[in-house]
Symmetry: D2
Subunit: 257 residues, 4 copies
């Protein structure tokens, strides 16, 4: 069908799990502008007939990205650098911070910062403000945001939400993974980037990595070393998502290379 | 005190956690034979006075090691090779297998094999047989033994027991970690070597490592890839233990290099 | 064409380098026996017309593998275990050793061992004997063979030859990589599995890996730690080759997953 | 001697290479201010008598650090973040850039930037300007500086110089490691932080790391992936140096943990 419409295939990858009756294929192709609508229609008709799903992404469209953070800014500074350097495809249309202090880095990259503390109204009011701010956004990145977003929020936000959790999930779910890792005496600490789901730290994992630690590291040092893992894990996951290389199957992901 | 008794210090490492009031030091030294008893007495008197603990290990004594396994023999074959090659200090005095089939590899390394199935008497009878077989052993290695040993057994065995668990603990405790890892869609799988404690997969961790996996690996392939991690993680843990480099603090370990 | 001949595609991966005018595709498919010759002919006609290359491999054919080694047997023992366990597809038809001592492990896995020292006739005579022994073999594995095979031998052996080199190539070409690594003070040591080419340690790399080391390791300890890397790197390369996942482009490889 | 002067030892590590007649020890200790000069004198007298070397570093002194860079700023931005966050001990007293464009990031962290292009006078004039600018600095970091500094400069700069090289040394010395890595078809790429010596990419290695790559990555993608390794490798090396954990022995380093 692609050939018939004059598309030139530039990349193709696929993954099948016959036992589960699942099949995913990612095709990158170049197509003259005047053919795009026709092909899109043809593909949608085909997908209905075959009971498959088709997602079309225009590679030249620049996604609008929002970053939510709290006090810690290692992921924020790293992401801003990568978007600015063109490493990550997209434009950061806003940084929303519950804590003060990110003015300098945001203005260095010319990105609008909105200080949005969780006030007397608590999370319900905060989430309402957020939803307004996130209107029209294509991707929400929780860059060490440190608040639990409600099921209601996640349903209404209308964009995928990627979170970085500072442990190798499913180990150490919750708020203090480095303390718990130290107490358990693990020899590696990790980080996990995943799509946020209503259940805490439970969404589909996009990327994980670890770093070796030992008895000499106290929780504070684990936190320092963990930052380096958090940064690259989140960046790799965001990159894969923005390059349309991630397919979600239940709570697992297919990440094409 | 070491100098006074004519010891020549050849290695020294230490670790302090002042907040917890903990301090550990490992000193390797050479000492004329005739001085050894005198020094040992002096050290024990000193340790009582200072309320510390002293463990003296003669580096030229060959530890007696037992390996327990079930059907899978990748760790068994690997350990036998390493003991035979002199990589691991010690002599394997017996392999105890609940399943048939390890004759060839054991006889290749000239190691006595005892087939010890779990029979009608269940684990109580099996554990009793094991305890008799393990009498006088310095270290018990559970090389994918796949049975849960009772608290009573662990108290009576009179030797440290090192287990290899086929996951990155504390994630995926229990019998089917690779299936669970596949279901959760993790991007790394791991293995953990730890001292066996009555609580399942809960003892002090000696060594861990991971390997990167992706959506293409089904549980069977995770199991294959996991074997390579299990082997080296167990071997490194056994090596550290047999070289007296492991200090246990509660459920954590200090592993000197 | 595959569909027309009744083939059911079970796996497909491809890689293109348009700038270099290169394209490789690996297709796994099931086909009724009676269709196989017809399809093979059709594919070969097609490949001539298109000036491409086609390699057909029957997945149910058991490759005949020879292992060449010297004194060290860590790779040999590991490979024998993996072939025996079915992890590696193939049958080891012979182990050829320049040094004595591998009887026990070979007989444990019921594999014929031929002691083939390099005698007074030097390498020319040795290579001649080897060529006779390797007749009809599909793959030759140099499992720490430690001799340099001549260009003439490599041309005449009529089977791919996979070598494990005990360094992270192109660093430390030659016979003493661990000594050189220690002298240079590197913080990681590695191993490289590659197809053997007449130029020393220069053939297409199939797999590499490294392990972290530090100032405490002397060359002897680097050698010990290196073994663990050599084993898995060689095993992964052999596995990829025997599953027909490696495509050679000049001195680079495409390794499909 | 430390005890006699009232010092409280808070950390101790040592490394011996008896065969080479080498021994290094790092002792961290707390000492009342009024005792410091007395101890320093005593230690220096002792070191002369024993023909050893003693380096005393006051942990509360803030080292003055200069960063030299060219066009690429991934290491620069990362280092500035880490100094600002207190992860690296020291104060960046100046950034010297041969290329334009780092104003925003430097002013975000309130660090003076000096644009210092290599002009008609070539490197001799440039080095002279640099030497003036670097006067009184405790550490010079080459954060992808991309110029070869002369032997004369390195002798006169009067501060240790740490360079990040974008390959796993000793592989791929020189200016285009990612192109060479791609051509050689390696399966891992790396980065090396080392003290700069007159001979190119030849000084003592402080830290190295690698990341796995495959046939899909072209040199441009290797460069992208390499950045992540360069950043952390350089940061870890600078951290070790600034915490006085590095001892240089010939062209090797002892890096205490």
């Amino acid at each position: 069908m692609l050939a018939k419409h004059g598309a030139n295939i530039t990349g193709l990858d696929e993954h099948a799990e016959p036992a589960a009756g699942r099949f995913a294929m990612r095709i990158a192709f170049a197509l003259p502008v005047e053919q795009q609508d026709v092909l899109a229609s043809a593909l949608h008709i085909w997908s209905k007939k075959e009971e498959g799903e088709i997602h079309l992404h225009a590679a030249d469209r620049v996604p609008r990205v929002a970053i939510l953070c709290s006090r810690e800014d290692h992921c924020l500074a790293d992401l801003l650098w990568r978007f600015d350097a063109g490493e990550l495809r997209g434009r950061v249309v806003g940084v929303f911070a519950t804590q003060p202090g990110h003015e300098a880095i945001c203005s260095a990259y010319d990105v609008p910062l909105r200080h949005m503390p969780v006030g007397d109204g608590g999370m319900p009011v905060h989430e309402k403000e957020l939803l307004e701010g996130l209107d029209g956004v294509d991707l929400v990145i929780l860059a060490r945001y440190m608040r639990i977003l409600s099921e209601d929020f996640l349903e209404r936000v209308n964009a995928p939400v990627i979170n970085i959790h500072h442990s190798f999930l499913p180990a150490f779910i919750g708020a203090n993974p480095y303390e718990e890792a130290h107490e358990r005496g693990v020899k590696l600490i990790g980080a996990t980037a995943h799509y946020a789901w209503p259940e805490l730290d439970a969404g589909p994992i996009i990327e994980q990595d670890v770093v070796r630690v030992g008895h000499r590291q106290d929780p504070g040092q684990l936190r320092l070393m963990g930052r380096d893992v958090e940064r690259v894990v989140l960046a790799r996951a965001v990159k894969a998502h923005l390059e349309d290389r991630v397919v979600v199957w239940g709570n697992r992901t297919v990440v094409f290379s």
